[in-house]
């Protein structure tokens, strides 16, 4: 019984923070920041795959969240809203950054499921992936690489599930074309 009462108290406190945040309360914002910073960081990192950039984008996301506090609807929950804002911040970053054609040193040194997929193919695929348009790249990274449910991806991008499927299809088609240009026939 004590556990249930404690959970109720935590939930009430959380609701109180959400309502106070909606009115621009900085202490409530700090509580939400501390509660969600790691989840937002993890989400952004999955998209941008660059830890320092993911840290900056986490701050950028919460900055946008704070600016939009009056538009927050506590009934719809904080996490999904924060995730959508984080996705857009990451998309903006992908649009403006300079594409790095040099790959990070630690590309997959793990059990390879298919020996026919050589290191050369993996390297060229990673390059082609870097060159995808940001909107397609986000859909592909979340739905294919991270294997998240398409419904979650759609929610984070603010589009329909069929639009996610279309973006993934277009990303794969572009990837194939790029690989063919590099002399690889997948």
């Amino acid at each position: 019984m004590e556990g249930i009462a404690e959970a109720d108290t935590v939930e009430r406190e959380g609701q109180k923070d959400l309502l106070a945040f909606r009115h621009g309360d900085l202490a409530a914002f700090e509580a939400l920041f501390r509660l969600h910073q790691r989840a937002v960081y993890g989400w952004v990192l999955r998209i941008v795959r660059n830890p320092p950039a993911a840290e900056d984008l986490t701050v950028e996301t919460f900055w946008r969240i704070y600016q939009a506090h009056a538009r927050f609807d506590p009934a719809r929950g904080f996490e999904g809203w924060a995730r959508r804002i984080a996705t857009h911040a990451a998309l903006d970053w992908l649009r403006t950054r300079r594409i790095e054609y040099e790959l990070p040193a630690e590309i997959p040194d793990r059990v390879i499921a298919d020996p026919a997929i050589t290191a050369e193919i993996r390297r060229k695929t990673a390059l082609a992936f870097e060159r995808l348009p940001p909107k397609l790249r986000i859909a592909a990274v979340l739905a294919v690489v991270e294997e998240l449910p398409q419904k979650d991806v759609a929610e984070a991008l603010g589009i329909s599930v069929s639009a996610v499927k279309l973006r993934v299809f277009r990303a794969l088609r572009l990837l194939r074309k790029d690989l063919e240009r590099q002399g690889i026939r997948p």
Binding site: Q37, A39, Y41, T125, A140, V144, L172
Partner: protein, 74 residues
């Protein structure tokens, strides 16, 4: 591109770009950086507030007689 080709490309992509840890550790607390960001950029007025202010200024400029009415409303 048929379904088989799509599956093959997905497999290649998954091997070339490995998934990230779903719950990674944050190297540092980001709250101090957040506070700096808040200090640098004090909350701006939304555009519709500026539009409302401009509208009110226009009304006052063109119809000075409306000032008592506006003051009464405020």
């Amino acid at each position: 591109m048929n379904e088989q080709e799509q599956d093959r490309l997905k497999q290649i992509l998954q091997e070339a770009v490995p998934p990230m840890d779903g719950n990674p550790e944050l190297g540092r607390d980001l709250w101090p950086a957040m506070l700096r960001r808040l200090d640098e950029n004090p909350a701006a007025l939304p555009w519709f507030d500026w539009a409302l202010l401009a509208g009110l200024a226009g009304v006052v400029a063109f119809f000075p007689a409306s000032i008592p009415l506006l003051l009464y409303c405020i």
